[in-house]
């Protein structure tokens, strides 16, 4: 596959061996938000939330999308779901170009791409019963038209996600956080989607519950052949669940690799710093471990640094890094990094 990013030619070999069909193809995705562009004031700036992101997602795989707040991972997910209109770039889903699709066609297509949100407290309507919440999309998309059949389907979905059929009569406030997240998953599953965008699906949950939900997502993937875009900031969870991982920083992809190479041989200094910042629950190991503590903070996407956006915080930056934007290059087969020194 060949493409052009930032005027520079790059080559992707994003497919893991044996994985063939591309379900989603994101190319040079850009999303800029105007700031201060109210009715009365003039536009004062542009937040470059996503600034030229490209990756492929293959049917049946889990692609992890990691980075810190403000790196553009959630905006990328929202652009894919067409909840945000991208500024430029293309998104092909099952061969169809989403960015130019008329709203009616998009509505039809949307049932094939579902989303699980971070906060199980605010993503369920408190006035609806669990049964109604799960039945709603079945009704809207006229997938199951008979009410008794819909109720039956909702009960079946509840069982699939590890809840009980009688939970259908309850309201969200009667469930715990983990149970609500299961309801969110059942609602997404109801559409029998090809792709589920999981936006921080476990980070609001208690530690002991996170593992339950991660296991559930993996079981369902096996059972229904689902494809996940797993957006998260917890690198340990991402390693566990993802086949391949995309690391983002300030709206750009800094590294893409399969799970093993990314975690065992990270190429980008930012990825290395991120990994070293994750505390490991073992005091002896922690005492011996080398910690890369980055200087400063993530710069504002309103005014990103010149050259490599990471250079002001990078422990190994050279003069070239401030002047020249590094292209995302394939360093070893399937392992791409955007760093002059990689």
């Amino acid at each position: 596959m060949r493409g052009v990013l930032g005027g520079r030619e790059y080559r992707f070999r994003l497919a893991g061996d044996g994985m063939s069909e591309t379900l989603l193809e994101v190319r040079d995705l850009v999303k800029h938000f105007p700031v201060g562009g109210g009715v009365l004031s003039k536009k004062t700036g542009i937040v470059r939330a996503v600034d030229g992101v490209s990756f492929d997602l293959h049917r049946g795989e889990t692609l992890g999308l990691v980075g810190e707040s403000g790196c553009g991972k959630t905006t990328t997910g929202r652009c894919i779901l067409q909840l945000e209109r991208p500024t430029s770039g293309t998104i092909r889903f099952q061969g169809e170009e989403l960015t130019t699709l008329p709203p009616t066609a998009m509505r039809k297509l949307r049932r094939h791409m579902q989303v699980i949100f971070q906060d199980p407290y605010s993503s369920l309507n408190p006035r609806m019963t669990i049964g109604q919440i799960i039945e709603e999309p079945l009704k809207v998309h006229a997938i199951v038209t008979e009410a008794p059949a819909r109720a039956e389907r909702a009960r079946d979905l509840l069982t699939q996600v590890g809840l009980l059929p009688q939970h259908a009569k309850r309201y969200p406030h009667q469930l715990s956080g983990g149970q609500r997240q299961r309801v969110g998953i059942a609602r997404a599953l109801a559409m029998e989607p090809a792709l589920i965008v999981c936006d921080e699906p476990v980070s609001a949950l208690d530690v002991s519950i996170q593992a339950q939900i991660v296991n559930l997502l993996e079981d369902l993937q096996g059972r229904f052949g689902l494809t996940y875009l797993f957006i998260a900031h917890d690198l340990s969870v991402v390693r566990h669940i993802s086949d391949r991982v995309v690391v983002m920083y300030l709206g750009k992809v800094v590294e893409i690799a399969d799970r093993t190479s990314l975690y065992e041989a990270p190429l980008h200094p930012y990825t290395r710093a991120l990994l070293s910042a994750v505390p490991i629950p073992d005091p002896k190991l922690e005492a011996r471990r080398e910690h890369i503590v980055l200087r400063g903070e993530v710069p504002s996407p309103l005014n990103p640094p010149s050259g490599c956006v990471f250079h002001p915080r990078c422990p190994v930056a050279i003069a070239r890094c401030a002047a020249e934007v590094p292209a995302l290059r394939e360093i070893t087969p399937g392992h791409c990094a955007a760093c002059h020194l990689a």
Binding site: D206, H233, R239, A277
Partner: protein, 332 residues
């Protein structure tokens, strides 16, 4: 080392519409001078309420410290008058909260918020207080303090605000800082910066620290001793090294096994703790963890006391603690 803080049989309750909640149910623990102690547990386990009880910030009439003693430098804080307690807060014991966005006053400059405590507690002259505020900002790693002092909290990023919170906590030279999830709202790389900063400051200034967190990794890196809480009680107590090497309560063991770790080969499946976190208004009889426990025996309907397991002070509240020792070694 002398005990700086000693909490004995503390019980704090809240009256709710569904019944009385024992948020903290008879816990005892201590902090020695200059050391870092962690309270670990999941939401609702009583870790934050423990800290608020020490500061006597439990809001009546719903909330009430029912019984217990909190000795700080030999004085029982629960017996102090409101006046006396106000003297302790901020000057001797300071607090750092989780949300740096909401715990700073948005309409006061950072400088004002830093100097307020000094002027109230020590009647420091404004010029001297300002000089100290500049020094504090420098200590917590905020560059160009002269320019930063007259700015408002919204001019600062989340990590910077947390640094300001730490500077405020240090302003009156406290002997103890209670840090309630100090880095939970922050990004990983900023979390590392803040935790390093807190550790360095605590070492340099000899301030003791209570870190309240749900993150077992944070505890491993920064705490000397750990108290694990579940449903308002301490279920395990040990030095950090001992707790991780040799967990003796099924809940601690479950927590350690349920998180994926970057230093270990990827497991095919995670090993979660089954079931739901406890509903504090409807706790099961005996051990609150028993409905979720793999090691449950008949005796668990009686509440197990927190008992020492060895001479070094490793304590666990579990009837089966002896059997779990071998289990944790096999699986570790």
């Amino acid at each position: 080392m002398a005990k700086l803080l000693q909490v004995n049989h503390l019980r704090t309750t809240f009256a709710t519409s569904t019944g009385l909640v024992r948020a903290v149910d008879g816990v005892s623990w201590d902090v020695e001078e200059g050391e870092t102690v962690a309270l670990v547990g999941e939401s609702g386990c009583g870790k934050s309420v423990s800290a608020l009880s020490i500061m006597r910030l439990i809001a009546p009439p719903a909330g009430r410290i029912e019984s217990g003693e909190i000795f700080f430098k030999g004085r029982d804080l629960l017996r102090l008058s409101d006046e006396e307690m106000r003297e302790v807060r901020g000057s001797e014991i300071a607090m750092v909260f989780q949300e740096p966005m909401t715990s700073l006053n948005p309409v006061l400059t950072v400088g004002r918020q830093l100097t307020e405590g000094m002027e109230i507690h020590y009647r420091t002259q404004p010029a001297a207080a300002r000089a100290r505020a500049l020094k504090l900002l420098e200590m917590v790693g905020i560059s160009d303090p002269e320019r930063r002092l007259p700015q408002y909290p919204h001019h600062f990023s989340g990590g910077m605000r947390q640094r300001i919170m730490i500077a405020m906590a240090l302003a009156c030279n406290p002997q103890l800082i209670l840090a309630d999830e100090p880095t939970t709202a922050l990004d990983v790389t900023i979390q590392a910066q803040i935790l390093e900063l807190m550790r360095n400051l605590s070492r340099e200034l000899g301030v003791a620290m209570l870190i309240i967190t749900h993150n077992l990794g944070v505890v491993a890196r920064y705490a000397d001793r750990v108290n694990v809480m579940y449903a308002g009680r301490i279920i395990e107590q040990a030095t950090a090294a001992e707790l991780y090497a040799n967990p003796r309560h099924p809940y601690t063991l479950g927590l350690l096994h349920s998180v994926p770790r970057l230093d270990e080969p990827r497991r095919a499946r995670l090993d979660p703790i089954e079931g739901q976190p406890p509903d504090l208004t409807r706790l099961p009889p005996g051990c609150a963890f028993q409905p979720r426990c793999k090691y449950r025996v008949e005796r668990c309907v009686e509440a197990p006391p927190l008992v020492p397991l060895d001479a070094a002070g490793h304590c666990a509240a579990c009837w089966e603690a002896a059997n779990i020792a071998s289990a944790s070694r096999v699986t570790a």
